[in-house]
Each structure stands twice: as C-alpha cells, then as structure tokens.
C-alpha cells in the first residue's frame, strides 16, 4: 500500500483542526521570536485531507493480524483478549484530560485506584512493597537490578560485579545487567529444562550480585529447584530477581515472594491483559522484599489518612531514582486495575489454571499428532516448546516455514527460534481466553502444513501467499537500510 507521503498534495489542509491565526495576530506572534531561531526548512509532513487520513489508516489497520482478528499463540508474549471495558475506563475524559502535575486533591479517586492496584500486586506477588513507576517490563528489570546494586552498594559490598542468568533467559536480562554496570554470566540448563544446580554452585561466590530467573521458565516448564537456587544465591550473599514475564501462569497460586525472590517486575500486558498496541505501551511495576524497599523507584503512592500522596526523592533518599518524567504509564495501570476488578480474586488463579489447561491440551494434541515436544517428560506450563528439527531435516519444514505458512491458515505464528537452545523451536502459548475449538483448528493447520511440506516442500518454503505482501527480504532491509521515506524503493 502506498505510503501517506505519496498522497500528499501541496496546500491541502484540514482547517477544522488548526484554525490559522488572523494575519495581524500571526505577525504579533512572530514579533518577539528572533528570526535566527525560526524554522526555514519544510517539515516534510504529508498534506492530506481528513478523509484520506481516515481511509489510509483504516486500510492499514486491516493489514494486520491481532488478537481481535486472529488466534495469536505467540509464546512468551501472552496474547490474550484485552477487555474493551478496560479501555473504556482508561479513556474516560476525566482520566485522559488530567495533567500529572495538577493538584493531587483533585485526583483522589485516581490515586485511590492506583493505590488499590499497588495493594493487589503486593498481595499477588507476596512482596513487601510495590512501585508502579516503571513504564515497561524491561524498565522494571532495570529498576530491580538497580535496586540490587543499590542494596549491595549501601552495605559497602561493592565487589559484587556479576549477575547470573540461565542460558535460556530473555535477552533483556543480560542487557539489563549491562546497563546496571554488571557482567553477565550464563548458567547452563540441564536436559530436563531446569537450571544445572552443580554448575550454578560452581559459579556463585563473593562476586555474585544476584541471579535473574523466570519461573515458569522460558522453556515452558516450572523451575522445580527454585527453593534450592534461592538458598544457594542467598548463602553466597546475592539477591534473587524474578523476571515476571510468566507470572500469569502461577499468579494466585504461587507467590514469587514465597519462592524467595527479592525483586520482581510484572508485565501487566501479560498477566493483566492490557493491550500490546503493536509493541507498547506496557507497564512494569516492581515489587521488592523488605530489605529492598528503601530503594524503590519514585514516585511511590502512599495512603495518608483518607487521601493519597506521591512520595518523591526527598521522601525516599535511598531510592534508585526516577524512571520517567512523570509517574508511570497510568493509562495502562488503569486498564490492569479494571481487569483485576472484573476477574476478581478467584479469577487471578483461574487465569493461570486455564492457560495451563489450554497449553497442556494443545501439547497433548500436537504430540498425539506426531510433533515433538522439547521436554516430553515435563508438564507444560502456560506455554510449551515443539521442535521441528526432524521435519526440517527431512523435508525443510523449518520453524520459519511453519510460521509463515500458518499465516495463510489464518493464525499468527508462535514465537520461533527462542529460546535459542532448542533447535527449530516453536514456543506456543495459547492463553486462557481461547476456546478448545480454536486450539483444535490450530492443530489441524499444523498437521495440514506438515502434509503440504511432505508433498511439496517448495510450496511451503514460499509461504505466505495470502498476506498483503509475500515473504519479505530482511537481509536487504538490514544491508540497505531504508528507514525514512524519500521516494519509491529501487528494485
């Protein structure tokens, strides 16, 4: 589809959105602005009518798979239904129009809601305190590791330079450790998908600042030795960080606080069904054990009598500081609160139960259909891994080819090639909001594609066929980057 700049016509305007000043007013406005500071060059923004804008982006939206249109079993990303009521709450004019620096007395209700959310998260995670400030999971991770560092530093224990992560961890874990000035070391995983305890033991020591762990892990299994791991790290003087990416699998049943974690972030879009929005916004509240509480990022919301206040740096001298210009992604947090109210206390546990039911059902059906699970001996959590190694070797049905062909069948693809240690892997997460009929249809598609690949491998290698564009040349994109529009692309 042509880009919006190609529809641009010089002089086309939408005066209903920006009434021009009268000439004399315009002159007056410019009078005190030094000419040297004024813009001389065009901005390059397109000149199109309101109708053209509406038509362009309506049609673009249609060129997109989404939960609202497709089953979206993207492992580790938790593409569950995003309740529209939560959107309605966040879009209430009284919330949308509120300036973050306005008098908090006029925001008592809003702060009340945020405080309630904070309390709910505290109880769900089993941590001592929560800060809602981080604006995404990765920022929550940063806050968590920064707090671990602040803790060690505050005790003068500054020789601890290493953060341990399992080799199957999310890329954000080591990247975060780097941003916090740590060196990352990767702990191997054993054949059952658990952390290799002996290796771990050999890696800890006075240099260990902490360990970052996702549990259930990125391999789609529950890390059974988590208690032992916690003891090993704590005994070595390190702290434990919980990557909350998979909290949705166990919330309401198991609490990170009780597993021994000292800090945790929560991906509200995964656990509390806020929208992904094509890549954001997220929100990444952090929770901490009592010893890390002084280091929580600001602002923090506290109850003072019948009203609520925001604690700033003066109130929290040991805080790791501020994560964003204001107090976090409020609109996202409001959605999470609404979702929690609607599912209710019983619902929190049910989410993980039915996500797990769906995952195990789908795994059972795919296994029965001859696909190979990466960890056949293990229970699936809310997600699981299939390896297409055999299919890839035999007739070129790689994870990538399977993914692309699934698009033609009307499914978004599972996560592919992550975690890195399982070859040709599909990480599949159906979520609790899908019906068994939908899962059955997905199994049928996988089976049909395998048959296609056996019969005509080339056909599957050239999928997809029904999407707005055919398979795209990613190598060209990276080698000859075309990142802003200047005209048609050379062929």
């Amino acid at each position: 589809m042509s880009v919006i700049f190609e529809s641009s016509t010089p002089g086309r305007i939408n005066p209903q959105h920006a009434t021009p000043l009268e000439a004399d007013e315009q002159q007056a406005a410019l009078a005190d602005l030094p000419e040297a500071l004024l813009r001389q060059s065009p901005t390059g923004l397109p000149e199109v009518s309101e109708l053209e804008v509406v038509r362009h982006y309506t049609k673009l939206s249609q060129k997109n798979y989404s939960i609202d249109t497709h089953f979206y079993p993207l492992g580790s990303c938790t593409m569950k239904y995003n309740p529209r009521a939560a959107n309605k709450v966040a879009m209430l004019p009284g919330f949308l129009g509120r300036h973050p620096l306005d008098d908090p007395h006029y925001a008592t209700g809003l702060l009340h809601t945020l405080f309630e959310l904070q309390e709910m998260l505290r109880e769900i995670t089993g941590m001592a305190a929560i800060s809602l400030a981080p604006m995404a999971g990765a920022q929550g991770e940063f806050a968590g590791v920064a707090m671990i560092r602040a803790y060690h530093d505050a005790r003068g224990d500054s020789a601890r330079r290493e953060i341990l992560v399992p080799d199957a961890s999310h890329g954000t874990n080591p990247a975060t450790a780097t941003m916090c000035g740590y060196v990352t070391r990767e702990v191997p995983t054993n054949a059952q998908g658990d952390v290799d305890i002996e290796a771990l033991k050999s890696m800890v020591g006075p240099q260990t600042a902490g360990l970052m762990l996702t549990n259930p892990s990125t391999l789609g299994v529950f890390e059974r030795s988590v208690g032992l791991i916690a003891r090993i790290i704590h005994d070595a003087g390190g702290l434990l960080y919980y990557d909350g990416a998979n909290l949705n699998a166990i919330a309401g049943r198991v609490r990170p606080g009780e597993m021994g974690f000292d800090a945790i972030h929560i991906n509200v879009h995964k656990t509390f069904a806020t929208p992904h929005g094509g890549g954001g916004p997220g929100a990444g509240p952090v929770g901490v054990s009592a010893r890390l509480q002084p280091f929580l990022p600001i602002p923090r919301i506290v109850k003072q009598g019948a009203s609520y206040a925001l604690l700033e740096s003066a109130d929290c001298p040991q805080s790791i500081g501020r994560m964003g210009a204001f107090g976090g992604n409020i609109g996202v947090l409001l959605r999470a609160h609404a979702y929690l109210c609607m599912i209710g206390r019983q619902g929190v546990r049910r989410v993980g139960e039915y996500a797990t039911l769906n995952a195990n059902y789908l795994l059972a059906r795919l296994t029965a259909a001859g696909f190979k699970p990466a960890y056949a001996e293990r229970r699936a959590t809310h997600e699981f891994i299939i390896t297409l190694k055999a299919e890839a070797d035999a007739y070129g049905l790689t994870a990538l080819n399977m993914a692309k062909r699934l698009l033609d069948y009307g499914f978004y693809a599972p996560t592919i090639y992550f975690p890195l240690l399982v070859p040709e892997c599909l990480l599949i997460e159906p979520t609790e909001t899908e019906s068994p009929e939908q899962l059955d249809a997905f199994v049928a598609a996988m089976v049909a594609i395998r048959k296609e690949a056996q019969e005509s491998p080339e056909f599957v290698k050239n999928a997809p066929y029904t999407t707005p564009v055919r398979r795209l040349d990613e190598t060209r994109a990276a080698r000859k980057p075309d990142l802003i529009w200047r005209g048609p692309l050379e062929q």
């Binding site: 609109g331 996202v332 109210c341 795209l472 040349d473 060209r476």
Partner: protein
C-alpha cells in the same frame, strides 16, 4: 468465567485428552510448599463490567472541568476525534510487536511513516520507532552519544546537561546512566535570560566533553541560543543532543539546522503530538539522529524492503543492535516501544499536516503572549526572565507560588507549575503554559482569578 470460554464439558474433555484428573494435577511439578493458593483479600470479588465502569466513572469525574495552564513537560492540545477512533481499532490495539512482518504490515508501515515524519520534523536522517517517554529518550541519547563519541582512553566520559533541561529529565538520566561511569555536569542558567549561562558552560571549555544537551524551548519556556551552543560544543569535539518540543519544531529551527553543523541527535517527548495528558502516561519518547549514528540507536527500527514478488513492504530491521539478539552487548535493554502512541502521533501529524502543526505552534505562542500581556498588568506579577519564550512563561509573584496555586485550584484552575519545587530559591516563580486550547475568555478568566488572589492581603495558606 469472565474472559475464559471453557464450559464444564470442555474442561472434562480436555483433561481426558491430557490424561489427568483435574486442573490442579497440571501443577503437580510445583513443590507443595510453594503451591500456597493465597486468598487475595485486596483483590475484590468479581465485579461486573458495569460496576467497574460505574466506579471508575465516578472517580474520573472528580477532575472534570478544570481549566489547565500547566505544562512543565506535558501539554494539553486538541487531538482530532478521528485519531483515537483509529488508534483503538482492534487491529492496532491488540497486536504485538510486528515479528511476523507479512501479517503486520499495518503497524510496520505506520511506524515507518512515524519515523519519516519525526526525522522530517527534526531535520534528521532517521528516527527509531519510539521509546518510553521524553526523559528516557534523553537518557538513551546520552548513552548513545557516549558510545558514538567515547572519552579518550583513561578519562571519564562527560556529558553536559544544563540546569535549563527539565529537572525530571535530569533525574531520569541520572538514574539510567549512573552505572556507566559517565560524569553528568549541570551548569546553571543565566539569571537574566533564563538560558544556559555561558559562563557556567565555559568552566568545561578546555576539558573533554562527549556531549552537550540543549533543550529548546528549555524548562522555563525560554528559547536557547541554539546556534551558539551547538557551535560551542562541536568546536570542543562534543556531540550535540537537542531535547525539543516537537510542536515547537513546526515553528522553530529544528536540531539538524542548529549552528554550523547541526545537532547530532534530537530527542524529546512526543506526547504533544496527539497523546492525551492521562496523568502522565503512557506517552512516547522520540529519538532521531544523523545517518552516521544509525547503528548506535537503541529501540525498534522499521525499514522498507521488497517481497518475493518485488512489492514494497516493511520489516523490523537493524535488529543486531537489540537485546533479543545481542543480549548483554545490546545498545539498550529496551524491548517494547510505545507502539500505539507512535501510531497516534503519526495519525495526528498526518491530520494536521505542516501548515496545521505550524498554526498550532503559532497559536500556542500567541496565546501565551496574550496571557502574559494580561498578567503584566497585575500588581505583584512580573516576568522572571527576559527574552523569547514559546508557550510557557515563568512569572515572579509577590507571594509563594504554591499558595497561589492552591487558591487557583479552588476555582478549578490548574494554574501552573511552582518552580520552587525543583529550583530552590525560586519559590515565588510560577511557570504558566498556554496552548491553542485556550480561548481569549479563558485567558481573561485566569487573569481575573490571579488578580484577585494577588490583591488579597497576606498569605492565603
């Protein structure tokens, strides 16, 4: 069950297929002592959608009808009704990061258009797909500048971030770069013109500097002498990071045109481009730069390419910079961008176009001028600084600004930002913002209310 479709029959059949007796059995690998099933007393019993909406509507109503004159980093602008009706379409709202490009062309193309528009507005060669907010965008810009222009071996990298930069932004940069061994210095401002004090800057004239941050307009709403500052920095081998208001850029010289060579990185808060105030978030940071810095850029980037049949299409690209590929060596740990907000900004900019955005900027400035002209007539009110401003003006009052704000608040006016909260000694200074959303009668209303408060004897507190 809310949002769970399973019937009892479904569950029974599924358990049979799996070969277990109960859902509980699916959790049998979890050690019993961890499987505690806490009763969650802070979570209410399930509320209906209606009850949820009713409660939150009542809470939201509390702040209705306030007349807002606060800026200080978040700006009230009119957003065309079509923008959010389009943004919240399910296909945008409920999609993930566009990993499968062929099934995500809508979002990918929109982000490509976003990159193009932001680069155009800043005069830069490229832009990323957005960051969390303006403050974190500045922090990433600082890290990027230090990577691109490293300090000489053995010396500490130094970045100059003057006190005219938004104080909250400076705090965020501190938080985020603290562990990278970067020295952040914050030279103070000129008491007369409210811009970077050249004397303070010149303390670093002969030392190695990796980058200079220039805010335009600055936190006080004042316009900086961007040409001078840019040249100053480049002469000393420092990169220049512009942190700018994107609406102002429709009127003011964009970073790429500053000084002789132009700034190297432009970043800032994208909220004024179609994102509601929403109590501070979600917003979106933007980050754009010159071609030479492309591979130091953090965050998602979309590129245009061709498909098997030679048709143009869009993909996430230059991913080798990112954490999911580079892990510990990535340019940042950032993972999400603010996708939905960048879609909003794109549609907003397309709707306004170059003329429209310039009209908005001019009207903002004009209204602020007019408000100041009205306020200048009041007893006990004077301007804090000389020189040009954009759409915020710092005024010095004969009373503490916090007291005045409390009085204004009582008549439902959100009257500005008390500068003393962040700048000790400036307790009587109020930063007032006026955008195109204010009509002449609103200015009169504000001036009348302020006049009344200023004419009252003694302290209002």
């Amino acid at each position: 069950m809310p949002f769970i479709p399973h019937t009892e029959d479904d569950v029974r059949l599924m358990l049979d297929t799996i070969g277990v007796e109960s859902i509980d059995a699916l959790f049998d690998e979890i050690p019993a002592e961890l499987n505690t099933h806490p009763i969650l007393e802070s979570v209410p019993k399930p509320q209906s959608e209606a009850a949820t909406l009713r409660l939150q509507s009542a809470r939201a109503r509390e702040g209705d009808g306030r007349l807002n004159f606060i800026g200080a980093g978040a700006y009230e602008h009119h957003i065309p009704a079509a923008v959010w009706e389009l943004v919240t379409r399910g296909e945008f709202y409920s999609a993930y990061t566009p990993y499968q490009a062929e099934a995500s062309q809508g979002i990918l193309q929109t982000i490509y258009e976003f990159q193009s528009m932001m680069a155009g507005l800043m005069g830069m060669d490229l832009s990323n797909a957005s960051l969390y907010d303006g403050a974190t965008a500045l922090a990433e810009a600082v890290l990027m500048a230090v990577r691109a222009n490293p300090a000489p071996r053995g010396s500490t990298p130094r970045v100059i971030m003057p006190a005219t930069v938004h104080p909250a932004y400076r705090e965020v940069v501190q938080t985020m770069v603290r562990h990278q061994g970067i020295e952040l210095v914050e030279p103070s401002f000129c008491a007369k013109r409210g811009g970077v004090a050249v004397s303070a800057l010149n303390l670093y004239a002969d030392e190695p500097v990796q980058a200079l941050v220039i805010a335009q307009p600055n936190f006080f709403g004042q316009l900086e002498d961007v040409d001078f500052l840019t040249n100053w920095a480049h002469k000393r081998g420092a990169l220049v990071i512009g942190v700018v208001n994107p609406v102002a850029m429709a009127l003011l010289k964009p970073p790429a045109a500053w000084g002789e060579k132009g700034a190297d990185i432009a970043c800032g808060e994208g909220q004024p481009l179609g994102v509601p105030l929403s109590f501070g978030g979600p917003y979106l940071g933007f980050l754009s730069c010159r071609q030479a810095l492309a591979r130091q850029m953090p965050g998602r980037i979309v590129g245009r390419t061709l498909d098997q049949e030679g048709k143009e299409g869009f993909v996430l690209t230059l991913q080798a910079r990112e954490q999911h590929i580079r892990r510990a060596k990535a340019t940042s740990n950032i993972c999400t961008n603010q996708g939905l907000l960048s879609i909003a900004a794109t549609i907003h900019m397309a709707m306004l176009g170059p003329e429209g955005l310039k009209n908005v900027a001019l009207t903002c400035h004009r209204r602020t001028q007019q408000l100041w002209q009205r306020l200048a007539l009041l007893e006990g009110v004077e301007r804090c600084f000389e020189g040009p401003f954009f759409h915020e003006v710092a005024i010095k009052l004969s009373k503490p600004a916090e007291e005045v704000l409390t009085c204004l608040s009582g008549v439902n006016i959100a009257g500005g930002y008390a500068v003393g909260r962040r700048y000790p000694g400036m307790e009587n200074v109020l930063l007032v913002c006026c955008t195109e959303t204010k009509e002449r009668s609103d200015l009169d209303h504000y001036a009348d209310a302020l006049g009344l408060i200023m004419s009252e004897q003694g302290s209002a507190a």
